[in-house]
Symmetry: C2
Subunit: 367 residues, 2 copies
C-alpha cells in the first residue's frame, strides 16, 4: 500500500543487499515511520517478540525471511543451525499459526538441499513465495469481502457503510493489503462511501496507532473509539458490518484473534450486525478441532497493561503508568470467538460459513 | 473507608469552616492523595465537569453541597441565584440521575424559606442528609450483596470468589462504602476469600486509577486487566460474579453505566456468570420507562480517547498521545445494559429482579 505516495510492503529484501531484510518498525508508528534492518536470525526473533513486526500474515512472512537469513548465515552444520533458528522463531509468539506454518515450510524446502547455495536459493525462493502469496491472498480477500460492503451500501441506498474493526488487520499486519481492511480498501477505491470505527485495542493500542495510521495514509474516513464503545455503537445502529482478522481459525470455525474480539462478536450477534472474520488460508489450523478448547493463548508482560506509550508533550515517545505503584495485572493477548457468533469467513478463495464442513470444502485442495 | 488508617468520606464540610466543602481530588489519584476546597458554586460545577468528583452517588452529594454553598453565598435575590446555580449544576453531567435528584431536593427544601438563615440551615441539613443517606444506603447494599459472594464461596467450597467489576463503583464513587464494591468490602471484612478483576475502563481509566487504588488501600486482592479481557476470563471460568454500578436505572430495569458495561453483561450471559447491578434507590429513574430508548448518553471530549494520562518517568503526571496527529475520535461516556442481561439489582432495600414489577414493589414507599 502507499505511504506518502510511495508503494511499500511491510517487509522486503534490500535491493542493494540480498543479505539484509528491511521492514517497517511498527513500534515507532504512528509517530515515526522508520525502516529497520534485519541481518541475523536473532534480529528476527527480537523483532517478532517485541512486536516491531506483528500481525498474523507478517509474522509468517518474517519467519520465512528469518529462515532464509538462517540458511544464508549458517555455519558448516547447516541443518542443526536451521533447526535451532526454527525453534527460536517458533518460541516467539504461540497464538498465530502462520509462524509455525512458515517455519515448517522453510524446513521442508531446504531439508533435501546438499550444497549451501542450493539451500540458500531454496530458502530465498520460499521466503519470497510466502510473502508474495500473503500479499496476493490479501488482495483476493479484498475482492471477496468488498461484495459485503457493496451489499451493505445498496441496503443503505448509497449511504455511508460503517464498519467496525478491532486491532490491526490491515496491510501492516500482512505483507500488503491486509485481511479485515483489504475489503475496506477495495470498496473505498471503488468509490463506495465507507467509514471505519477503529477500536483502540488496549493494551497495545494497535487500533489507535496502526489502523488509524494506515487508514489515514490511504484517505479512508475513520473514527477512533475506546474498546468499550462498540456495544453502544451497535445498539444505536451505527455499525453496518464488523470485520476482524484472525491469528488462527480451528477446523470448527472458532477464531482466535486479538483479545476483545469475542466481546464485539457478542454485541454484533445481539444487535443483528453481520460479523465476518477475514484470513488467508495459511491462518487455518485444520489439525485443531476446537479453537476455544485448544488454541494456546499467549500471555504477555503485565507491564503492557500498567503502562501506556505515546507521544509526549515534547514530541518524543514516552511511557506513563496508569495504576498505583505495585499493581498486579494480567495480559492475555488473544481470545477465541466461537464459530456460532461468526457470520462468515472471508478467505482468498471466497466466503464460507464458520463450520467444519464449509471450511473443509473451501480448503480441500490446499496443500 | 480508610486511607492509611484514617477514616475518610469522599466529600465533607470543613470542620473549621462551614463555608468550605472539602473533597478528595480524584484527578490526582492514584499518584497523589489531595484534598481540594470548594467554596463557590462554580468550584462545584468545575469539579463535577472535570470529574475531580465523579461517580453516581458522589455527584449527587456534591450537587447537594453545591446547592448549600449557593444558599450560603446568595445575594439578595436568593431564589434567582439558587435557580441559576441549579441550572449550572444540572448542565455538568447528563447521564447520572442522582445529580438532578439532589438539585431538585435542595430546591424543594429551600423554596419556602423566607429568611436567609432559614434557607442556609435547610440547605445544610439537606446536603448532610443526602450525603448521610448515600453512605448508609451503600453500607446496606454491602450487606445484601455480600450474601451473593457468600453463596459463591459456598459453591466453591471456600475457594476464592473472583469478582469482575467495571469502572469505579467503589467508595470513591459515593460518599462512602460504594455500590458494586460495598459487597466486596463486606465479604472481605468477614473473611471470605475474594479477588477482584479490575477493568481498566478506558478512556479515563477509573478502574486502573481509582478501583485499584481503593481496593489496594483496603487490602483486597485484585488484578488489573484491559477492558478487552473480560470475555476471555469468563470463557475460562475465571469469573464467579460480575458486580457493576449504575448511573441510572429505568423503570424497566435497563441500567445505564460506564461505557463497556453492556459488553461485560453479554459475556456474562453467554457464559452463565451472574451479573448484578448495585445502586442506591436514588439512582432509579421511575419516570423513564425504557433505559435503552431514553437515557441521555453523555458524549465527552474526544481528547480523552486520543490521550492517556499517567505517571511519567520523573514521577510527574503527564499525558501521551496514542494515535496519529489529527485523528478523529468519539467518546460516549455510558452505555445501557438491557434488563434481560441483568440477574438482579442490589439496592439498600434488598435484591430484586431487573423488572418493572419488582422494582416498583421494592421502591413503593420511596418518596
Amino acid at each position: 500500500m502507499k505511504v506518502d505516495g510511495e508503494h511499500y510492503r511491510t517487509i522486503w529484501i534490500a535491493a542493494d543487499d540480498p543479505a539484509t531484510v528491511l521492514a517497517i518498525d511498527q513500534h515507532k508508528l504512528p509517530h515515526e515511520f522508520e525502516i529497520m534492518r534485519l541481518c541475523a536470525v536473532d534480529d528476527f526473533v527480537a523483532a517478532i517478540k517485541d512486536m516491531r513486526v506483528r500481525g498474523a500474515g507478517l509474522i509468517g512472512a518474517a519467519a520465512g525471511y528469518g529462515m532464509y537469513i538462517a540458511a544464508l548465515t549458517a555455519p558448516q552444520d547447516r541443518a542443526q543451525f536451521m533447526f535451532v533458528a526454527a525453534e527460536k522463531l517458533l518460541a516467539t509468539r504461540p497464538t498465530a499459526v502462520n509462524l509455525a506454518w512458515a517455519v515448517k515450510r522453510q524446513l521442508r524446502a531446504t531439508e533435501k538441499c546438499v550444497a549451501r547455495d542450493d539451500a540458500v536459493r531454496a530458502a530465498l525462493r520460499t521466503a519470497e513465495a510466502i510473502a508474495d502469496e500473503d500479499a496476493e491472498s490479501c488482495r483476493r480477500i479484498g475482492l471477496h469481502g468488498k461484495e459485503l460492503i457493496i451489499k451493505a451500501a445498496e441496503k443503505k441506498r448509497g449511504g455511508t457503510v460503517n464498519i467496525l474493526t478491532h486491532c490491526n488487520a490491515g496491510w501492516l499486519a500482512f505483507v500488503d493489503h491486509g485481511s479485515a481492511l483489504s475489503p475496506v480498501y477495495a470498496a473505498f477505491d471503488e468509490g463506495i462511501k465507507t467509514h471505519v470505527w477503529v477500536d483502540e485495542t488496549r493494551p497495545r493500542n494497535q487500533g489507535a496507532a496502526l489502523t488509524c495510521w494506515e487508514l489515514g495514509r490511504h484517505g479512508v474516513p475513520h473514527t477512533l473509539v475506546a474498546d468499550n464503545a462498540g456495544g453502544h455503537l451497535m445498539q444505536h445502529g451505527m455499525v453496518d458490518l464488523v470485520l476482524v482478522g484472525a491469528d488462527r481459525v480451528a477446523r470448527n470455525g472458532d477464531a482466535a484473534n486479538k483479545i476483545g474480539t469475542y466481546l464485539k462478536a457478542l454485541a454484533a450477534k445481539d444487535n443483528g450486525v453481520p460479523f465476518y472474520v477475514a484470513l488467508p488460508s495459511s491462518s487455518f489450523d485444520l489439525e485443531m478441532d476446537s479453537g476455544l478448547a485448544n488454541v494456546p493463548i499467549e500471555e504477555r508482560d503485565a507491564s503492557e497493561v500498567c503502562f501506556v506509550s505515546g507521544k509526549g508533550s515534547e514530541g518524543k515517545v514516552t511511557t506513563v503508568q496508569i495504576c498505583p505503584d505495585g499493581t498486579q495485572a494480567r495480559n492475555w493477548g488473544f481470545d477465541v470467538t466461537p464459530a456460532r457468533l461468526i457470520d462468515g469467513l472471508i478467505c482468498e478463495r471466497g466466503i464460507c460459513a464458520a463450520s467444519e464442513k464449509e471450511i473443509n470444502n473451501m480448503l480441500k485442495d490446499v496443500v
